[in-house]
């Protein structure tokens, strides 16, 4: 039962998605099945969010309880989850769901800071805490690229030397000063890099990988739809 039911569900859902691709969504309901299924997916995902919250609270609360290394940061994680979620879920007017009861207990001046509006606590935390931290993490990528490039571009053998030479040309071509430098050798050199290196070798290899990956994805989908592949269920 634990195997048969998921296989049937996978077969029906997968076949529906394939079939819907070939029908006009304006003429027949089946053509619109993909969008409907995605809406279902969003609804199921919304309910599954509870599982995520339970997991994050349980793992971190246990670490705080045991006072394990970095317990203070884990405590901050748990506090942050609720600090973002609870004010955002509160009713913003008396007419909102549960609003009349809520504002009979708490002052009406709270209306402006609850919910997800522009003056809310949620918005403040998102703009001044969450977004800067995310941007900082993303900005760090530049340093990581530098260290990875240093390791990858070491001229250890003929192939690595070729990679180093090509990468240097492409990096020079990508910045205005570098492009001006390349033009000192030949006015057409940046154009050649664009045409042959990026539009030729690079695109050819990328397309090869994309075609292979697409076939792999289609093959795996087919194996799942037909119940041949069951590894995604741990079988």
């Amino acid at each position: 039962m634990r195997t048969t039911v998921p296989i049937i569900v996978a077969f029906l859902a997968g076949t529906l998605m394939v079939v819907s691709f070939f029908f006009n969504p304006e003429k027949i309901w089946i053509g619109d099945a993909k969008d409907v299924a995605l809406q279902w997916m969003t609804i199921v995902g919304g309910f599954a969010l509870v599982l995520g919250v339970v997991s994050i609270v349980r793992v971190n609360a246990r670490a705080v309880q045991r006072k394990s290394e970095g317990w203070f940061y884990k405590l901050m994680t748990v506090i942050s989850v609720f600090a973002m979620a609870i004010p955002a879920m509160m009713p913003v007017t008396k007419e909102s769901f549960g609003g009349s009861i809520f504002y009979s207990i708490f002052p009406e001046s709270w209306m402006s800071v609850l919910g997800t509006g522009s003056q809310s606590w949620y918005d403040w935390l998102f703009t001044y805490v969450d977004a800067p931290m995310m941007e900082t993490m993303f900005a760090m990528l530049a340093f990581y690229i530098a260290s990875a490039a240093y390791r990858a571009f070491r001229a250890r053998n003929a192939e690595a030397t070729l990679l180093l030479f090509t990468a240097t040309l492409v990096m020079l071509w990508r910045v205005p000063m570098g492009e001006a430098f390349l033009r000192l050798f030949s006015e057409n050199l940046p154009g050649y890099i664009n045409t042959y290196v990026m539009g030729g070798f690079n695109v050819a290899v990328q397309r090869g990988i994309i075609i292979g990956a697409a076939l792999g994805a289609a093959s795996m989908s087919l194996r799942i739809i037909l119940g041949i592949e069951r590894t995604y269920m741990g079988k």
């Binding site: 993490m137 490039a149 075609i211 194996r223 037909l226 995604y232 741990g234």
Partner: protein, 292 residues
């Protein structure tokens, strides 16, 4: 035995019936320009039929016991070695099934590989850490890991927090996982699934932490980062082949051979197209594959 065979054959019959249904429905459509069936996608049906037939045919041959050659994938072979290294060092294995949601086929492939990795970690009783970004992936991964521990007879060793939800934000997830790498120093980091800008942040941190790293993704734009920072990288289709390869089941390997057969057909189609376009006679051929 008969019941099991019926279950295996039933989806194939139903799938065929569905395909016949499509063609019949298309026959009923009167007006080509405003029809129920999208005629402009007929080429896809033909390709789908060829592809499905190839996969099913090779699967049938594999079931019949025919020996099929599958080339070795170094990255997949390294998975068991990496878990063995972690066991010897007494350190955990970190597995990340990508940061995409469960509807992404790359995530499904990642979860399928996770099941195989979990079997090995269960066998050696090596700690496994699986941080995830989406609750649906959490539920699916928990199920797969628990099943692996049960099948290896190590249900008592299974910890429900092996798979844990860490954050929904891309870079919050990255920061948490990087922190885990630096604090717990896993001996092996396995990245299998859909990755985006965080790929290098994760792989470089893992490299700095001294872990053996195996990555797999179908996204060409992230592959250079993994190749630069990881010991082994599964590229594109290898990610989807990995779970079948690890299972060593002939039935699944048959699907891979079918895929290779279609790849040969596509190479021939590309060569024909290249020749036709070179001699300025390829417009009709391009239209054939132009699916709106």
């Amino acid at each position: 035995m008969i019941k099991q065979k019926t279950i295996q054959i039933l989806p194939i019959i139903l799938f065929t019936v569905m395909m016949i249904l499509i063609l019949n429905l298309s026959a009923y459509a009167q007006d080509l320009g405003d029809s129920v069936f999208l005629y402009s996608r007929t080429t896809v049906i033909i390709l789908l039929a060829v592809f499905s037939s190839a996969v099913l045919l090779y699967t049938k041959w594999a079931r019949a016991g025919k020996k099929l050659f599958i080339r070795k994938i170094a990255g997949v072979d390294a998975v068991e070695d990496a878990v063995g290294r972690a066991t010897e060092m007494g350190k955990p294995v970190l597995f990340i099934p990508g940061i995409a949601d469960v509807e992404d086929i790359e995530t499904i492939a990642g979860i399928a590989i996770l099941g195989r990795v979990a079997r090995v970690t269960a066998q050696y009783e090596t700690p496994l850490r699986v941080p995830v970004r989406y609750p649906m992936v959490l539920a699916a991964s928990q199920e797969v890991v628990e099943q692996a521990y049960i099948e290896m007879g190590k249900a008592d060793s299974y910890d429900k927090d092996t798979v844990r939800y860490v954050a929904g934000e891309q870079f919050a997830f990255t920061a948490t996982v990087n922190g885990m790498m630096m604090r717990e120093r896993p001996a092996a980091n396995i990245y299998m699934g859909g990755f985006f800008a965080e790929s290098l942040l994760l792989a470089e941190t893992g490299n700095a932490a001294g872990a053996i790293q195996i990555a797999g993704t179908a996204r060409p734009e992230q592959l250079p980062f993994f190749i630069a920072a990881c010991d082994f990288t599964l590229m594109g289709e290898e990610l989807y082949a990995a779970s079948s390869y690890l299972s060593h089941e002939p039935l699944l390997l048959g699907g891979l051979k079918g895929q290779d057969f279609v790849k040969i057909l596509l190479v021939i189609a590309i060569l024909i197209g290249t020749l036709l376009v070179t001699f300025d006679a390829g417009d009709w051929y391009i239209d054939l594959f132009d699916v709106p």
